[in-house]
């Protein structure tokens, strides 16, 4: 009997709670503790008896933890926590600001290498599973084009943007792929698609008392970067409807690689996700990669890593023999 991998969670928002839930489904791992910036006594762990500590206790607990899963946000938390904690722990995170990944990788790599730790960054579904499909699609079909569609799903960033508009009391935004664009891509025709042709944006908004609906709608659909390049619809709903019908966090999307292997032969690879809960799926990905990080560390592979560096077999609790016999 191999002793379980001791996992700790840093940060207990939606993602941290998802990691807690995912760990109950992985018998080879054990939740060693949850670390929070709130007063630890205020936090309700999913399983009674789970140790809860202050984030500041982390440095003293290095010998209790095999892999630390960082569940903070990419904007405020990870740029600071990632490099600092990679000096002390093997880590996994879901850093998802695509444009800053090279800098973040470098910032995590140096302390991890210097301290012989393994730190896997940017796991999740995009970046993460979708990224793997983009790399493999290109490698398998060098002559071709890759398309990423997101949704239908709730976008946190765009929902926040809607809620910042004066006159908005509450609201959510769904990103929706345009069905005709998807069908065109699936057919193998390799269209050139503009931003507007690929996705629409659907907002469900609760008006503040006395707010002018037309002014709010106009402010949303013309908002630069967020909405001006898209066809956006705004539907006004009640606070009760918002609570009842828009409380879940579904998401998903697909990556399609369309290519040719000879003049007459078109080949299409499609990877799709339909996620009932975006944070719970992301959490499940982090947990599987925590297993891989533990193994990479045992093999002496130190420094920052990404999903591109992880062989599929390292994600599974099964042995290589078992995988070949059962799943190849």
């Amino acid at each position: 009997m191999i002793s379980p991998i001791r996992i700790a969670i840093a940060g207990h928002g939606n993602l941290g709670r998802g990691v807690e839930a995912a760990l109950t489904r992985n018998a080879d791992m054990q939740l060693a503790g949850i670390y929070t910036r709130r007063p630890p006594a205020q936090l309700q762990p999913l399983t009674a008896g789970t140790p809860v500590h202050a984030m500041d206790d982390l440095p003293g607990h290095a010998d209790r933890i095999d892999v630390l899963i960082l569940c903070g946000g990419s904007k405020e938390d990870l740029p600071r926590q990632g490099p600092a904690l990679a000096a002390l722990f093997n880590t996994v995170d879901s850093f998802d600001t695509h444009a800053r990944i090279p800098d973040y990788f470098a910032a995590v790599d140096a302390p991890a290498r210097a301290n012989r730790k393994t730190a896997l960054i940017s796991a999740g579904w995009d970046p993460g599973m979708f990224s793997i499909q983009r790399v493999m699609g290109e490698a398998l079909l060098p002559e071709g084009a890759t398309y990423t569609f997101w949704g239908k799903g709730l976008s946190q960033g765009h929902s926040d943007a809607v809620r910042r508009v004066p006159g908005v009391a509450g609201g959510v935004q769904y990103t929706v792929p345009v069905p005709q664009a998807v069908e065109q891509v699936r057919s193998g025709s390799r269209p050139q698609l503009t931003t507007r042709q690929k996705h629409t944006r659907e907002c469900f908004v609760v008006l503040a008392e006395g707010a002018d609906a037309d002014a709010v709608r106009q402010a949303i659909v013309t908002m630069p970067h967020y909405f001006d390049e898209y066809d956006t619809t705004v539907t006004f709903i009640t606070a009760e409807e918002l609570r009842r019908e828009h409380g879940a966090m579904p998401h998903g999307g697909f990556v399609i690689r369309s290519g040719h292997t000879s003049a007459g032969n078109s080949q299409v690879i499609e990877y799709g996700l339909q996620l009932g809960s975006n944070p719970e799926f992301t959490a499940s990905v982090l947990v599987a990669y925590a297993r891989a990080v533990h193994r990479l560390h045992q093999q002496g592979q130190y420094g920052a890593k990404t999903v591109f560096d992880v062989a599929p077999g390292l994600l599974s609790p099964k042995s290589a023999d078992q995988l070949r016999a059962e799943l190849l």
Copy 2:
């Protein structure tokens, strides 16, 4: 400028010709030669000037070849060629007899290790891309079920079986997933499905002169192992129709992992392939894995490997920096 990876092809059937075509789309590789059991002068390479040699010349050419792609069949060729050639070359093959993979792995592993070679077995789409999805689906969603559907596509083994029936002058067999079963699985409901509920089999048959149609149909649909567990339709066509409408080798299918991350949240991962040419796609997979084998060998990773042992980044001609910046 890094010198190109020198690839050789052993066997020049549909798969070998597909590898030849795929190599023209990968600028970092070079076709060093084609090895055949036919008289070399009879073989027409795709690109004029490609060296063609007798299979028996292979042992003397070890210093000209970085990776040898074995394009023989799993029944007769690979069980003999795979172990023998892995003692002399880094190899990639598409051994696809699922039940015999553990034995074949062992038979290739020993000579490869003894001679410090790297030999990747069972690449392609199933085994291969589908196997990766089965492993990752299970690892990401431990509570769930995996479904593999094949088709719509031309099955070589079942077409051969049809053609062996007395009274059959020619014919092909298509494996077709049952749409209702697929929809049920996509919905996240995790049904238990029998063999009959998952796929149907469609045969297009040219009768031999004087053959009895009903007797032929009966012989096909009751054939043990091949057809008796399926709903099979037999359509009689002319030799001209067979040539005109059934000459391509399309295939494909999908792997669906359906699971839950908490009681209320269902998550569905789907990976699908629509292949205009089955052998050309398999060939493209072999070529991408040849690149990975070359790199694993340079890293000193000797012995037999499978797709489970290969990190996605190793398949791409791009550097790790470039992949992180462009595709993560």
